[in-house]
Amino acid sequence: MTSNGDRHEVIVGGTGGQGVITIGYVLAQAAFSKYKHVTRFPIYMGAMRGAAALITVIFSNERIAAPILSNYDNAITMEPGTFARFKAGINPGGKIVYNSSVIKDAEKGETDCCFYGIPVTDLAQEMNAPYLANMIMLGAYREITGVLTEDMVKDAMKYILTSEGKGDRLKINLEAYDKGASYAKG
């Protein structure tokens, strides 16, 4: 059972260097302009690059109870470790958007949810910039879920990337977003 009404919840996971936290930050920032309540909570599973990092983002016009969830409606995962974890936690009817470049055999098993594989590593490699995989994933995710609007998300990208001191790389990141979005559109 997924959430009622306008509530949207998503968990994003990957290894430290993959920029998953940024995905969460952008989604939360985008939601901030439209929703009354927004919460995001990052979890770092270790200090080192390579250790898993997760971020939960929830937005709603109703009050949000917990910022951490045992089960969630949507998940984004960049690598196998968090894929396995999220598969166990996804709500029936929920969506998992995953990096099909590295999560090859999406063992969908008995899980009652929808899987969307996006080969973001390969797509990033095409752009000759492995670090863009996260924004490609973001574009695909928005397209698949239809949550928020492209403009909102792109505005939020501007805000977050600038505040992270990556303002100079904004253009290529927006291109990456588009690449992901059009891949998802098919």
Partner: protein, 74 residues
């Protein structure tokens, strides 16, 4: 003819480039290859100049470098 060989344990390397910097003979270079954790590790490029000084080994913070010496024939 190279008298020495340098081996980088890719999985341990964090791509810091210290070995590249401290090599007095510019024998190492970071190129395109990266490991599972996403680090670009160095590759020996100019081994003929290698003096076997061991700087790359001793100053690698991640214990990733081994320097070998070829035994003289016979």
């Amino acid at each position: 003819m190279a008298k020495f060989e340098v081996e980088i344990k890719q999985s341990a390397c964090k791509g810091c480039g210290i070995c590249v910097t401290v090599c007095p003979s510019n024998c190492l270079e970071i190129r395109e290859s990266f490991n599972q954790a996403g680090y670009y590790y160095p590759e020996p490029v100019n081994m003929d100049d290698c003096t076997g000084c061991g700087a790359c080994n001793k100053l690698c913070p991640d214990f990733a470098v081994t320097v070998y010496k070829y035994k003289k024939a016979g």
